[in-house]
Symmetry: D2
Subunit: 267 residues, 4 copies
């Protein structure tokens, strides 16, 4: 039984494609007229992909087989965005999204936009009726983030603001917050004021010293409860019919994730 | 600055509340008239919570302080559903949702509904315009899953079907699939036929033998590419001002997650 | 070909035996006349083991098969010693022994004897010509440690001292040190003075706060170099012909291990 | 109080020295007349180290400070041996030594010598009265192993044999065995015959397929009990006063370790 061929399943000019050569060779490219997409296994002509069904086999100029796939969120995150800052990894992003209960329609604060990596993920999950309010005190980062966000067509679900989140957040009654700044303990008051009562916040923190300092600050602030800290270790397996084994080299640490929920401070 | 007090931020009859006593004592309860919510730190009267702002402090009959929080997705998953089967854990669910690129509006296959735990999570992320099609060959499981799903008011975003996913899936052109059955290699053809070209699938598999068998079946089937397998190890930290340390006892293994993407089979 | 049957391979009165019923049922017992060894799978009569070859099959009073094994170091550690304190685990002990380069003939300081668990392991590896000098400021612990050490017949390779290692260590020119006390930063000077130049030391530390404090103290002390910190995560696999998988519940954290090597302090 | 300066604590010609520049720059060198030891931080003249106390500070030709340390077992393993094969890592070696209860005086079989890395570690722990019997079916490997072993002066405690361990082992009544060959299931009989009754064996196995196959072979062979499989994940921490954190890139997998103990086969 062949799947019904809908227009949506056909590559068009303007679409992004993920060219999958093998596990280590994956290229994200926009389909444009006369575009030549280079790989170390030969060139692929964009025009040859247009009109093909998504998931089709293609060949490079060196006659190497590849697959033309519809990019997923993770492909944009891994291959499609320009990174100028350390970013939160998929393993941690998935966990944060889940633990915060992000949903379509949610209004979310992002403190520390950086390259816009997390912004994109938040926007993906709150669209089409939710919104992400992203703050960064580096205009150069915001410019890059803006371009990255536009690449996925998510700009309508994001407002980026140049400003210091430790000094103030304009929004009120937000559903959740993701905080990725070096000194989150300085922003507890502004984050607190921007959130709905009972709303959750996730902090991403690389070092043990920051973990300690943030934990102490959260305890002293008395505006949050259910403070929990986690760390995720991801192991990928190398797969072949003769040898399946965990990868030798893995990312052993990206950061700790601390969660808390806003409570009503007693007067 | 006090957050604007909207109706949405006030507990009403019919709402669920998460009563947070401490890290190990958290109770999920529905607010009903004259209801007494028991804990090993004393009783809480539901009527006393109604009308209070979410995130408010309450006291038990033993004068122990607690917090009345608005439940998050994770609270329903951990405390709100009846479990009759082994379930996929939050750490894995977040990763699966992220890697599949699940979004509001997506139409998703779930093979192996069990207690409805994963169904709830999928429905949470595809609502309000998407849909989850869940299959299970145990009617007793489907009944329990139905109740669990109703608890979160997600029933409009889910269709549960009594049937053997290895024999057939009614839907076509689905955006993604999550497969949690003991012998997923028997369902490759039906899953393949239900998916859009290029759509991703995630398999949840507990043992090494299943990992091997599924990998070999996927390679032989030739309808999927980008086959990857992962495992996530979650470490929670015990937090106190005098001692922060990874928890002594952790869940070391729940299962492996294997991903693949549908390709157009050559004729 | 049958192994030559030497006397050494036969169980005698006075020997310890490890009765192995299954992975979770292992009993360490001394073979004594008329002794009845109880298990939840029935009773084993010690006299029936005496005279049998090590590794022989035996049966309990309930006719359950078991194996009479010669105990290994790990069996004594896991089953043979009375524990009154938190002990360092095999995974960490093996790593410490290896990283310190402990060898037969070495003279080793142990700061914080506790139940004598680590003392036993150190004595095992330095015997017959080396020696362990163990300090503890709790006489009750030392008494228990003494009994535990005697059980393995290692008393000639150990000197236990009642005293505060932070105040002084009698020995000089030791080959290595293992430190397991709550405030190791207070003992840097005495440990330094007891060691040979260039000799290594291992610190076992449970919490992040202690890790930080010890690291800072070591840097400030300026008598050690090559300061490194590690953590080992051990995963056991559940084995059966139908399902091999990492154990669900594992020990996620016991402590951090910090190593350093004595250098000649500039005057 | 200054440590008594014994001759043993002074560097002599012929000694090995570990020159420690920083965590990533450590050089193992033999002290020889007129030898120039190169580093990317400048040259060190061996003659300048001779006569210095172990643990002394030295400076390179670029006036960079370094420490002249007495090498430990781990330094030889990491820096001193020529590797032509995949080797077992310190984390696993320490655990194997511990779990097998290796001790001074033990007679140990090594199946699969490779570069002699494990041989060196076994010899270190069995000396001065024990012995390692190492088999390999590659003469070129044995030659390299021989040189590596000689570097540490351990040649009197090792007998290397060119031969196929699957076909036969000359020794009987050995105390333990370490097996690191690709098809250990083919050597169960010869290993069994070489061991004392109740003696333990450790297998090092990289892939899941080998784990499965070995486990099944061990169960079918019926000459071993207490079959257990483990995996160790080692995390090193990056240390600085401003940031302590687990290293970003770690070795996620080297191999699985399977243990078993010889039992008396019923006739």
């Amino acid at each position: 039984m062949t799947p019904v061929l809908s227009q949506d399943n056909i590559f068009n000019y303007g679409d992004y494609v993920l060219i999958y050569l093998d596990r280590k060779r994956r290229i994200l490219a926009k389909l444009e007229q006369n575009k030549r997409i280079s790989s170390d296994k030969g060139v692929i002509i964009a025009d040859n992909i247009v009109g093909k069904e998504k998931g089709s086999q293609i060949v490079t100029s060196l006659n190497i087989k590849a697959w033309a796939l519809k990019p997923l969120l993770v492909d944009y995150i891994e291959k499609g965005i320009k990174r100028v800052t350390q970013v939160i990894y998929p393993k941690d992003l998935g966990f944060i999204i889940f633990m915060l209960g992000i949903e379509s329609g949610a209004r979310v604060l992002e403190a520390g936009v950086g390259s816009g990596n997390t912004t994109i993920v938040l926007a993906h999950f709150v669209k089409p009726t939710g919104h992400v309010y992203g703050y960064d005190n580096r205009e150069d980062f915001l410019k890059i983030a803006r371009n990255n966000i536009a690449k996925l067509g998510l700009e309508n679900f994001v407002t980026l603001k140049y400003g210091d989140v430790r000094k103030g957040v304009d929004e009120k009654n937000l559903d959740a917050a993701v905080v990725d700044i070096p000194d989150p303990w300085e922003a507890l008051n502004t984050i607190y004021n921007s959130l709905k009562p009972s709303a959750p916040v996730a902090f991403f923190i690389p070092s043990v010293q920051q973990l300690l300092k943030l934990y102490e600050a959260l305890e002293d602030f008395k505006g949050f409860t259910d403070i929990r800290a986690f760390e995720l270790i991801l192991r990928e397996y190398e797969l072949s019919k003769t040898s399946i084994r965990p990868s030798t080299h893995i990312v052993g640490h990206t950061g700790f994730i601390m969660f808390a929920r806003k409570i009503i401070k007693s007067l």
